[in-house]
């Protein structure tokens, strides 16, 4: 690791002030991506601003017909939370299968979503459920949050504080994990709210995206066989030593069906 300063403020305003005063400072949440990245010298922040002492960022509370989850809630906390399991069991199930037990005890929902790894699981839920991301200054629609490879709508110095997930009559995630890294080679989250169906795909492209053709077919008839004959275009999908684009396109079709069944 390159050297860096370390701050652990106890107020959100101080976090924001530190980030605005130093554009090379980075937010530290659970650190399960950031610390391995620092160890490989793939990042050289001047300072880390640790969110762990800011009160209220881990709370999970009922709100309207959905659930509000603090940005610092760990994957383990989301997975076992009774409210999340009752309102959105598919989201709890997604959290229960991120990484491994030790990673889930440290990694946070806000950290994962702000990092916007193309193979992360949570982005699919954020887009499919059209979650609302709350920051220190505004609310951002889930569908507009992910803007590219490791890129989000967050501005410099902007800090995510919580996420609101609306209830859904159907919300389920299916993924095909890389056997070594556990990251999704492809993952599909299908959500149905009222008559609207969203199918969000992670792991397969440079950033999470919606499979609009599948959404149209499922809106007409919400059944796995509504996807018969439908194949995702492999153009522009990720291709690497683990899976080529055509294989990922095939996986997305299989996983979308599993996320409905």
């Amino acid at each position: 690791m390159y050297g860096f300063d370390y701050h652990r403020p106890t107020a959100l305003a101080d976090v924001v002030a530190l980030l605005i005063a130093d554009e090379d400072a980075k937010v530290l949440a659970g650190g399960q991506t950031l610390i391995p990245t620092l160890k490989q010298r793939l990042a050289m922040p001047s300072a880390l601003v640790d969110l762990s002492a800011v009160p209220g960022l881990r709370e999970i509370v009922a709100e309207g017909d959905g659930v509000r989850i603090g940005a610092m809630a760990t994957h383990a906390a989301v997975a076992r939370n009774a409210l999340v399991r009752a309102v959105l069991p598919g989201l709890a199930d997604l959290a229960a299968h991120i990484g491994d037990a030790q990673v889930r005890n440290r990694g946070t929902i806000g950290g994962s979503i702000a990092n916007a790894d193309p193979a992360a699981d949570y982005p699919a839920a954020v887009v499919a459920l059209d979650a609302i991301i709350r920051t220190d200054r505004r609310d951002i629609a889930g569908g507009a949050f992910f803007t590219g490879l490791f890129e989000t709508a967050l501005q410099p110095g902007e800090v995510m504080t919580s996420l609101f997930f609306p209830a859904a009559s159907h919300a389920r995630y299916a993924k095909f994990s890389n056997p070594a890294s556990r990251y999704a080679m492809a993952g599909v989250f299908v959500a149905k709210r009222g008559d609207a169906v969203r199918a969000a795909v992670t792991g397969a492209g440079p950033s999470v995206f919606r499979w609009h053709a599948a959404e149209a077919a499922l809106s007409a008839r919400f059944s796995a066989d509504a996807l018969d004959g439908l194949v995702l275009d492999a153009e522009g999908l990720n291709s690497d030593m683990h899976a080529d684009a055509a294989y990922r396109a095939h996986l997305v079709g299989v996983l979308a069906r599993r996320a409905i069944a």
Binding site: K39, A101, Q102, R182
Partner: protein, 158 residues
């Protein structure tokens, strides 16, 4: 920059000044001499460095020492009874020969203790899924799974 931290390690208070770059695994091994916590991959995959941080298993190579300020850390050295008796999970690993070379064992035992506390059941599939974060390069998983089940049953009965 150095940061003053105070934490509890295996029940004893520890205060020292650390570089923010120092990993919890390095603090335990290099500063405190607790070399029972092994560093295998140092890329947060193998789980050999698993310790408990405020009661939860974590990979100490993916935690900064400064993040453990104010926390309660438990390592493999801290789980034996006051009379030196093996923890039920350690005893089960010995009884069922849940190790070959032994390098992964401290992390396996620490991970298994939390698994025993939180698992919904002790079926083989549950144990294997619960140990996904711990790798055994000898591939000695058969006996590790047996040992974890026996150790967890002993913990739950004890």
């Amino acid at each position: 920059m150095s940061v003053a931290i105070t934490l509890t390690v295996n029940g004893a208070p520890v205060s020292l000044e650390v570089d923010p770059r120092l990993l919890l695994s390095q603090l335990l091994r290099d500063e405190l001499g607790l070399t029972g916590t092994h560093v295998g991959c140092d890329t947060s995959q193998c789980g050999a460095c698993t310790v408990h941080l405020d009661g939860l298993s974590v990979k100490s190579c993916a935690v900064l020492a400064v993040q453990a300020d104010g926390a309660d850390v438990l390592t493999i050295e801290g789980i034996t009874g006051p009379d030196g008796a093996l923890h039920p999970m350690q005893a089960a690993f010995r009884e069922h020969h849940g190790l070959q070379c032994g390098f992964c064992t401290p992390g396996m035992v620490m991970g298994a203790i939390e698994l025993a506390r939180t698992a919904r059941d002790l079926e083989e599939a549950t144990i294997r899924e619960g140990l996904e974060g711990n790798l055994c390069r000898c591939t000695g998983y058969q006996n590790i799974v047996k040992a974890v089940r026996a150790g967890a049953q002993a913990m739950r009965e004890g």
